[in-house]
Symmetry: C3
Subunit: 214 residues, 3 copies
Amino acid sequence: MSTFVLVIDLVGTFVFAVNGALTATRAVHLDIVGVLVLGVITAVGGGITRDVLIGAVPPIAFTRWYYLAAAGLGALLAFFISLPPRRLTGAIIVLDAVGLSLFCVTGAQKAVEHGLDPAAAIIVGAIAAVGGGTIRDITIGKVPSILTSGLYAIPALLGAAIEVLSAPLRSYGIPVALVGAVVCFVVRMAGVCFKLEAPKAFDPNGQPGGQPRG
Amino acid sequence: MSTFVLVIDLVGTFVFAVNGALTATRAVHLDIVGVLVLGVITAVGGGITRDVLIGAVPPIAFTRWYYLAAAGLGALLAFFISLPPRRLTGAIIVLDAVGLSLFCVTGAQKAVEHGLDPAAAIIVGAIAAVGGGTIRDITIGKVPSILTSGLYAIPALLGAAIEVLSAPLRSYGIPVALVGAVVCFVVRMAGVCFKLEAPKAFDPNGQPGGQPRG
Amino acid sequence: MSTFVLVIDLVGTFVFAVNGALTATRAVHLDIVGVLVLGVITAVGGGITRDVLIGAVPPIAFTRWYYLAAAGLGALLAFFISLPPRRLTGAIIVLDAVGLSLFCVTGAQKAVEHGLDPAAAIIVGAIAAVGGGTIRDITIGKVPSILTSGLYAIPALLGAAIEVLSAPLRSYGIPVALVGAVVCFVVRMAGVCFKLEAPKAFDPNGQPGGQPRG
């Protein structure tokens, strides 16, 4: 990976760790080891899934010490943060969106470097982005955001697609990666802020389907 | 993969996507994106697990566009289907059995082609078959069928074994694959229809164990 | 793997299968197939995860028949054991600690043999150790021990570290593997017996955090 991609991969790892650790203190109220573990799992889960899917094993999170250092640091920091509930919820959502935006770009980029086709690289990028949060939710017994939030998988696919498809136009570099990440972040946050909801299926159980679950 | 194996792999992908999407509308009442995502996960989850286990990465679901197309089409179709509750439950069970039957055969066949021993190929085939549904259930917080249903893993192992063990008798081809799939389907549906239950362990908590959990 | 490492890997597989099967009869009261499946998943889940992460696919659990035989035997044995609730809980905890101790050592050792750096090998060893129990818990819908128990991941990392770091001192062999496993077991059981709890974060929801969740 280029230095720039590495740097935003590490920033993504850090913010996902903060997010996972805050989720742990909020949702399941774990002790410090549990908070650290959930933070680290959230931070490196997406990248490990990406590396396994493209055959880059052992995953870079195990072979470069700074990944686990960034994850541990983020989780520790979050453990000592005290936020009132409302601001905590906001922080969890924003950090998740930042991690999503950074990982879809770095994941797609790494997949391209490993020789994947554009379409496959876009999917792998999106999986790297949504993977950490999905593993976090499943581990604590929550239905994951990719299912309940209409605009979670879509911005990740969008950011990864911008990163992959802009390749023929110019050599990969800072600007492209940033465009993909920014678009992903804006779309994700727009979905959160305006409570954008996709249409629901007719409910055969007769329950009114109008109440958003998100 | 031979053309015939590819075709039944795609049919399996399609029916599992319909199944996963119907499960989503029934169990968690998701919006259209959630229904699509759960349908696609159910459809390609088993095959991705199979490909990771045999080292065929990136998984074929990412490198051949028609897999995701078949999965997306199936999930979309299911989103617009309106069925009364009883028929919906029936459709979910039958489609799951069809997907199970097709994937145990194609999974075992692909494992053999990648040089696995017969025993390992049978296991991989069964995992490919039960994988999608298991990931689906875990994702929505349900105890998966492989644990609660006595005849779920067994027909998958049976279908995969027929596919693998019939190899020395004749060259792989249409008839063998169909025999394995049909046996798997018949055994699975027999278990569902006649509510076949395997014996339960003595319950140390003193609860009567006689009620089937389904 | 050396013969000795193979033997303790198989013993670990057997005790994890007993543990998983007992958990199944206690937590979800499954029928015999469900008990077998959960026992086998608990037994081979950590090793399969380890093999996928180091690129040793297909996993050894599929290619050497004695792994599934040891797992099936352990699960079957557990199915026919009748224990009163208190002793059952104790057996589940002790067997889990034994499996944890054996798998952190064999996992780290196998990772070293596959050329991983010491740090990566320690992590892979710990993942091999906690993997089976974590998959078991997630499958039955329980928050896994790595999150709720302060001393679960730590003894696994400790045992793996002793195994990996003692390599330069002497050639790998019986004594080193045993030291790592014994230290892991003692630390894990000390945590259980003395209810050692790591500090908890300030709870922004205002709930008193003093009650151990165990």
